[in-house]
Amino acid sequence: MTAIVETPASSLDLGILAGDWRNTNADGGISRIVCRPIDGGRLSVQCFGTDDWGSVEAPVYAFAFESKQAGAFNAVFDLGYEEVHLQANVKAGVLVVASFNHIKDQSGRSSYFDREFFHRIATA
């Protein structure tokens, strides 16, 4: 199950973020992230771990208040046992993804922080 979040329309250019991103580490926890522009300047983010997590709408952000270029997004995936907050930004052509992973079940695992890197194989 994934979070359903209505994000506000954005006037930012999504070109830097849009595309099919693959983890630079074959053993990474998140293997693939697909970012698709949708109506109203919004961004859809689909993640794959050991399976398809589904898609969520993610608010997008510029690197400067005066900029009209989106360079980052903040996506939240509710996987049931865990809520994953993805902090993603593009730096030098690399999608840098910090994940703040909030474990909600009774498995005894700790919530944890992780960081992974993705390269783009196709633009959306």
Partner: protein
């Protein structure tokens, strides 16, 4: 009693017994100063923990406009360990939120190798000339 772990990432398949260990957030306590000499979004911040209550608080002091001079002290909503399979649960980060008159800010910080990396997502409540912004800045403990 712990329940069998379920995961959608391979590295999360960790078998543990008992409740999760307490995250040692107090390792992040202290006064943190920016590593960059130039004016930036966050000038400095302070973190303090109440280990009995299991709560951690952050107070941020702003730098470049429209960052408020004093953001106030808020409780961190979520705390995170620095590894998925850790047993000691040494702190690896936190998420906190600020709600100002004209903007909401989500603070996401991670702690590693003596450095605090603080990211913010700035959302203006009313669309205007300024775009919603992502910041990522670095701090050392003073």
């Amino acid at each position: 009693m712990a329940e069998p772990s379920y995961s959608r990432r391979a590295h999360e398949d960790v078998t543990r017994s008992g409740p999760p260990p307490r995250i040692e957030a107090e390792v992040m306590d202290g006064r943190w100063f920016k590593t960059n000499d130039k004016l930036q979004w966050i000038e400095r911040l302070e973190i303090d923990s109440d280990t009995d209550a299991g709560e951690t608080y952050v107070q941020i002091h702003g730098g470049a406009a429209p960052s408020p001079a004093d953001w106030g002290r808020v409780r961190c909503d979520l705390l995170f360990a620095n590894a998925a399979d850790t047993a000691n649960a040494r702190a690896g980060g936190f998420i906190a939120h600020y709600d100002f008159d004209d903007m909401r800010v989500e603070v996401q910080a991670n702690y590693n190798l003596g450095l605090l990396v603080v990211a913010t997502f700035v959302n203006f409540k009313t669309p205007g000339a300024l775009s919603d912004r992502f910041t990522r800045e670095f701090f050392f403990r003073g």
